[in-house]
Symmetry: C2
Subunit: 225 residues, 2 copies
């Protein structure tokens, strides 16, 4: 009974959140701001990926970062130290995801003058963040090799809502049973339009391709304003 009640409440929240997310997406587009929502499991390499990517892009784009966590400010510190771009830490008060309103609260606390790209590093979680549209222009997720190639089977929604899936930590692939072809097949099963890139944030492999994709998306949105 408890279970059913939770689902119903979530649904009614979803309807409002979806509308709110659409409003936020439209507002941001009108102001020329691209919002990337980056999701993954805990510890799959979001922060390291962002540092490398931002350093490739920060001369071409004015970037701001919002780090969402339940507690701690370690990731925001790392981004600030590693890139120097405007960074804030959002504490979710125990919440397992960000919705559009929480995302808006974060964005409002940024200095948006001249900002082209806001990157939201969502809470490390493959379930709940997928259920709440943040108002992002594009959704991207990281699956790291140590997590295993079967994750699209177990967490279908996350893979189905992402425009781009980054497969990270390819440097340790020899030590894990990770089948890249099988993984790609599972991802395409959930989302045939998803773009898939293999990267290694630690060594920098593939980061240029991710940066290029991101720059292109920002340009497309600006062009289509």
């Amino acid at each position: 009974m408890d279970n059913l009640r939770i689902i119903e409440v979530k649904r009614s929240v979803f309807e409002e959140n979806d509308k709110d997310a659409e409003r936020l997406r439209k507002e941001l587009k009108e102001r020329g701001i691209f919002l990337l929502n980056l999701m993954s499991s805990p510890g799959s390499g979001k922060t390291t990926t962002l540092i490398k990517t931002i350093n490739l892009l920060k001369d071409k784009l004015n970037i701001a970062v919002m780090e969402a966590d339940i507690d701690s400010d370690t990731d925001a510190k790392k981004i600030l130290e590693g890139t120097g771009v405007q960074t804030i830490q959002i504490h979710t008060g125990g919440m397992c995801h960000l919705d559009a309103d929480m995302t808006r609260q974060g964005i409002r606390s940024l200095d948006l003058e001249k900002v082209d790209l806001v990157i939201l590093e969502n809470v490390g979680n493959l379930v709940c963040p997928a259920e709440f549209d943040t108002g992002a222009s594009k959704n991207c997720m990281i699956l790291s090799v140590p997590e295993g190639d079967d994750k699209p089977l177990k967490y279908p929604l996350m893979f189905s809502i992402c425009d781009l899936v980054l497969i990270n930590k390819t440097d340790v692939a020899p030590y894990f049973d990770f089948d890249f072809d099988k993984c790609e097949q599972y991802i395409k099963m959930r989302n045939k339009n998803a773009k898939i890139l293999s990267i290694c944030a630690k060594t920098g492999e593939g980061i240029d391709e991710f940066a290029m994709w991101l720059k292109e998306q920002v340009d497309i949105q600006k062009g289509g304003k």
Copy 2:
């Protein structure tokens, strides 16, 4: 506003769930059944750890396993093939955790005759499962080396509610910047009573210690019935 509303609803559910979990814990204890709730991030090695552990214990204890996932039955199949013990797959219908009532539904579908130990492999998620008492006798979590030593800082509740933390995938420690001392210190910061064991489910290292701990807990509960 959406955000606040969700938190309120969760709280009222929590109160009911806590009572329900206590009821379930008491019922199971009276029937001589120990329930272990095993949690972790996606892909940190719950299923492999369980297979190795169950094979060490299945001659001493009558074991049943409940695999919880949003979708797929890959883990239940692996457990069944790898151990031969009674196994069911619970699909959570998109839910990011199991509460006591969902756990009870799973337990009711098991043949409990002679069962000493039921192991629940919860949904791979470091946030939500920590918020819902399943009625388990003990909570255990796995943190895998590739996820990083800082997870107790970011996911405080999960570490604070676990009786045992298993640090898994120690075989790949040379390829990751994982500081075991620092990690232990962070875990103790969240929960000074947590027992910590280093294991490698792949090679079997440390699994005997985990099995011994689990057997001990089952015996203690039986003795205290």
